[in-house]
Subunit: 338 residues, 4 copies
């Protein structure tokens, strides 16, 4: 961390500032130039709040050099984290495909979709039981019944299940869920993150609509700092001014996060684009950019889906896309990396 | 709601679509032109999910004409909502000033700040007991102890208290809080909103970092649809590309929300700008634009604040700004409106 | 400027880097810590391109401390710049109101509008002769004829005229224009800016749709570095995700720019909001925030305007708003500042 | 186009409005419901300005159904446009790679880079002679001398050349340039676009920093409506809140534009990301998403580049990436599409 001192700061203010900084167990180095003075901090600055430094008298600017996250930082954990769930792996080279309906609606809908995505080669089944909807008048999910149906679908297909938690008070209902998803709107629900950090269960953490990548990593850090290292990051589109897509899918997040963290990185092209016609090209783009996984919405009858029908693939479309996705996966691993 | 039909849609698809739409208890009007056909829906379309319509076969586009919120809608409630709390009013003409420290830190800090803001003319005392912090390594708030200190400060000053809830599981601790604040990160924590909708307590609902005004109103609708009509909206800056301010304060939200809703509208210039030097001009701007209230951070010793020191006013600065704010308030009411 | 060195950089790379940096006539100070090394640059770093430093071997990060603009910088020119045009002043305390139609359409329309805005107390007449329109099929402005009509309106009313230049090739046509406006889309048309820098004519420079305040100041610097110091900055809304307003008016730009620059700052509430109903409240907000001027669209017959009718005030609306604006201006100067 | 009428509009206003609309040679259909009335317009509405309609009395909202562009619209030109330049093709299936330095700096630098990119399999040589730089104190390009060097490099390598025009006044200097590039900052320099529309020369049109895809297509329409149909669209990153990348590369623009237009679509991963380490993964992602071309910055000595060194590949890096890019191109054409 570097602290730039105001031109008009007094000697006394600077000494006071340096003493205060040393209280955080770091060394301070004062560099005095003709027009400006700066203090360089040496040591672990993770626990120093840049805003708090900024508020001290005599401070012009604060620049953080070191990343404020530790557990999620590749610098300290050079090897990729690989998360194993019922024999499936996420991270470390292969491509995990999570597929299923936006919402769990009926037994018939879920069982048929689950069978279809399994046949097409999906590794995990997704389905929403608790649905965060903008309107209180929209379908809010089946709740516990939805989770029970997912568990039944796992029995029938063997696919591990992924479903979203909306509130800490529902945590008990997720005891038999394989991967707990935290949605974009809850990425900074810190109480929930901490509680999940005390579970021994993989967490699929979605990037908030307007969260920076560093904020995403800090949210992962919340979970990890409580002891749970099984965090999967998911980019699902960020909010921009462009109206044609629901969100703008930031595929550069894949190689960037790869440099900064050892955690697996999944792309959700369905929520990102909001158009079923864009799901396949964006899936292929994500695979080529090095994603560890994809989360794709599939519905047996999109036009009658209770939510997000416009972005759902039919089982046939999904099967057709999966052929290309798996072919590309093999090509990327064998063809490009040789 | 207007549904634009794809050129290539068949007669059968159009009939099916219209029948499905009439299932929502609305009338359908088909307009057939040379190049395009559209269906106009007549009736209450609040419960129709535009995305669901979009997913139907043969649909090119869906345009919502009517707002999807009812309880928050000025169209159905022309009169301003005025919320009374221990004799203070928010909404309906006067300016409510909520002031206090970002975080409750110590008894001494809070009592001195409370006395100072009262003397300067504040109407409410704010202070954070549960703090949503980006980093798990930053100060997370005093929790219950913080709320107890706020209650003590209310006893000493008579100022009603406003403090933020971060998780539903803490709701019991807020029984004796006057106004429950929902932070920007929780604006779409729908489980929390519904629970607050079942309380008889005013809720100060902050706009999310990248929430549209319609989404803010839909979140208010979540609270109101459960029976609690005492919602105060708060604009606190939105996330943009501009790095000089923490966020961009969208003051046009004040007159725009005024047209669309009867709920009171408060501006938080402290979080919006992140600079204490911008708090006064932005407060004055908000008053001139017609805001019903201001939420301002004040700290007895900003340079030693445990959070957000850079944007906090000292008691002296606050007192000086309050003179201008109150003078402007009077001028706006008397001078401009006469 | 501070240069953070990569952990793995060799001694040789660091020496080479420092030697290269000293080639810009600055002193270099190396600070060596346990985990990192940084170089502090002392002297005038305006001409050092941060991107070029970033590209050198061994560089981890580059942080600019000093602003990269000189002529526009208040640090070097503490006094407010006041621009005088035919006896009217912009900057330095009073409020300059620039009003008129979006486009010059006909002689009758312009003369009647000019007379009306003069009567209501405007200081300058605006009107577009060259119109930047998103569509090639929309009205593109009257061109030279429009400028001639503006000159005629100036004769009739005495109001100095402000109109937008779209391309350098038209510069000769602006010889008799009082203030040349550079639109948001041309804020980084650097060839045009340099040419205007060689004219002795005030330039009203509008902030680009997604330009940072620093980029706005750098564009002002382009004009000033060629010798023309008469630059007026104009905030007219930035592009965000919010669909209710055409743009989001960033009023905090007023006090922020005030700190950083001595140039006058004008607010355009008409283009910023796109709604005539928001023009008055946003004008009042801008005055309270300390703006040096307002640019407001007025049309004798908004419903028949050839462009931007939805955001234009009628002469009656403008006159009514001007009473409040002038009253507030007086109050701000006398009431608040005493 | 659909016009929603205000509840309180009078019969007379509605008649007047419909008559006015019919003046644009369209048919009007009035739909009267219980709560609202709408007018559907049938015919070519390209020339109707939605803002102008919005400004009419009695109008609540205007919704455009038909795209406001004709020449660029795939609806009217279903076949892909293929642009041929000296035997190379852009569009219609193959992948055109445009590579070279950000700025033309010296003869030696350009000739060596040109030879290197040719050897690595590039199809076109790029190089900036006129450089749009944020700071007036940064290197502004060699101008005419730079273009002469590019022409010399074309002689030596046979690669057609692509270079950016910054101002209409320089157009004569581009007579012997193969593809004229319009930079992001000039995407809405309409005078320049019209002039290029009167040339018989391919134009590479870059998306503005905060331009919507529709605005990009409208800018293409400016060129095409003057007679020049050889427009190549280029996505080069949009401005968002994310600070880790220079811009956010919107790869979904590729399949989306593919649906809407017949024009070729190129991706510039260098400017989009600002990091040389992200250029390869983003290039591969773009190819998989179906891009018609890539524009990549290559410099013989990035650490000494006069501009944009941080995002430039060395010739060796470029050659290595090109092997993967070409292999993927073949795989996408043969492997995925079979």
């Amino acid at each position: 961390m570097i602290v730039v001192i105001k031109n008009q700061a007094t000697e006394e203010q600077v000494s006071e500032l340096m003493e205060w900084l040393r209280g955080f167990n770091v060394k301070t180095n004062l560099v005095t130039g003709v027009h400006s003075r700066i203090i360089g901090l040496i040591g672990d600055t993770t626990s120093i709040d840049a805003d708090a430094v900024m508020a001290r008298e005599g401070v012009e600017a604060v620049k953080r050099v070191q990343e404020p996250y530790k557990n999620a930082n590749r610098r300290f954990h050079p090897e990729d984290t690989v998360i194993e769930v019922r024999g499936r792996r996420i991270g470390g080279g292969s491509l995990a495909v999570i597929a299923g309906p936006c919402s769990v609606e009926t037994e018939d809908q879920l069982m048929r979709t689950a069978a279809a995505v399994k046949n097409a080669g999906a590794d995990f089944l997704r389905g929403g039981a608790f649905k965060p909807r903008t309107s209180p008048y929209a379908f809010q999910g089946l709740g516990k019944e939805g989770i029970d149906l997912l568990i039944q679908a796992r029995k029938e297909t063997g696919l591990p299940i992924v479903t979203e938690i909306m509130d800490l008070s529902d945590l008990d209902l997720f005891a038999d869920v394989d991967i707990v998803q935290v949605g974009a709107r809850n990425m900074q629900n810190f109480t929930l993150l901490k509680a999940l950090g005390r579970c021994d269960k993989p967490v699929l953490l979605k990037r908030g609509l307007s969260a920076t990548l560093q904020e995403l990593l800090m949210s992962a850090e919340y979970i990890m700092s409580e002891g749970n290292g099984k965090v999967i990051l998911c980019e699902r589109g960020i909010r921009t001014f462009e109206p044609e897509t629901r969100n703008t899918l930031d595929i550069s997040a894949v190689p960037l996060l790869r440099q900064k963290t050892h955690l697996p990185i999944v792309i959700d092209p369905s929520h990102a684009t909001g158009h079923s016609g864009l799901v396949e090209p964006m899936s292929l783009a994500a695979v080529s950019a090095g994603a560890d996984g994809l989360e794709i919405e599939v519905h047996t009858d999109p036009k009658n889906a209770w939510s997000d029908g416009a972005q759902s693939l039919t089982p046939e479309q999904f099967a057709s896309s999966m052929k290309k996705i798996r072919a590309l996966e093999k090509f990327v691993i064998n063809g490009l990396c040789s």
